[in-house]
């Protein structure tokens, strides 16, 4: 088991924080990311079913272990203002918040709010870029968990043709 020297007791405190907030299966992914669990064990990893079934931003934040979230100018969302096809919407999120542990992408008007949840171990840039499906014009929330606290940024993306498969 590899322990980054920076964690030490800090890791214990973080673990207690996450356990307290009831991170559920997301905890497993985090545990892998910070080296508590070997990658080979990760193949049997969990998937936060409850979080992927939520239908509101507030419920998603709760399912990911938060009780609320503060808007932050230190989270940058790079995405187009308008998407020609909602089936493929490029979105990048970069966090300047210290000790960013996770970045999640939430799409407010989608049938299920949570699109993706990235766990960022130390040494990995707090930056992800991917493509998501948007059912209709909607706000996109980039949720960042940093130092056990929850922050977000919002951007509206207009969709000309919805892309969830209708």
């Amino acid at each position: 088991m590899r322990l980054d020297w920076r964690f030490g007791t800090c890791m214990d405190r973080m673990r207690r924080e996450v356990l307290k907030s009831g991170g559920g299966a997301g905890l497993f992914a985090w545990a892998v990311a910070v080296g508590l669990v070997k990658p080979s064990q990760a193949l049997a990893q969990g998937w936060n079913k409850a979080a992927f079934e939520t239908k509101s931003v507030a419920d998603t934040i709760r399912a990911l272990g938060g009780s609320g979230s503060t808007e932050s100018k230190d989270i940058q969302i790079t995405a187009p203002d308008i998407a020609e096809n909602g089936a493929v919407v490029p979105i990048s999120v970069e966090s300047r918040l210290a000790r960013t542990q996770a970045i999640a992408i939430l799409i407010e008007k989608n049938p299920f709010t949570l699109s993706a949840d990235f766990r960022i171990p130390a040494g990995t840039d707090p930056f992800v870029s991917t493509r998501v499906k948007m059912a209709e014009t909607s706000n996109i929330y980039a949720l960042v968990i940093a130092d056990g606290k929850y922050f977000h940024a919002v951007k509206e993306i207009k969709v000309t043709i919805g892309g969830c498969g209708g």
């Binding site: 990311a33 171990p121 992800v128 870029s129 493509r131």
Partner: protein
């Protein structure tokens, strides 16, 4: 066996920049086929990227990640010539692991 991923890992500004394309239909489970039947959900749930035995990114995905997913991120601690490994597992239990060598 699922189609291979296209992985590009290169040194950029001292960090390893990873760009990967995965071949997966990412079916939402909300689409109806020509007969009007729901096409069952089939999507990648977990993505894990490792380097030198250490996880550098772990992701949980839902059905609203686009078909043939693209992922781009950066991490420190890798050098040209070393390998990274990416594994995805989907909701049917299918999985795919591909490796790439970090280019200079």
């Amino acid at each position: 066996m699922a189609d291979p991923m296209r992985i590009r890992a290169s040194m950029t500004g001292g960090k390893v920049e990873v760009k990967v394309l995965m071949a997966h239909e990412m079916e939402t489970g909300q689409r109806k086929d020509a007969q009007g039947k729901i096409v069952p959900a089939h999507f990648i749930r977990n993505v894990t990227v490792t380097h030198a035995g250490r996880t550098v990114l772990a992701a949980e995905w839902g059905t609203s990640v686009s078909r043939n997913p693209f992922l781009h991120f950066r991490f420190s601690g890798g050098k040209a010539g070393e390998k990274i490994s990416i594994t995805w597992v989907d909701n049917k239990g299918e999985k795919r692991t591909d490796e790439a060598t970090i280019s200079g």
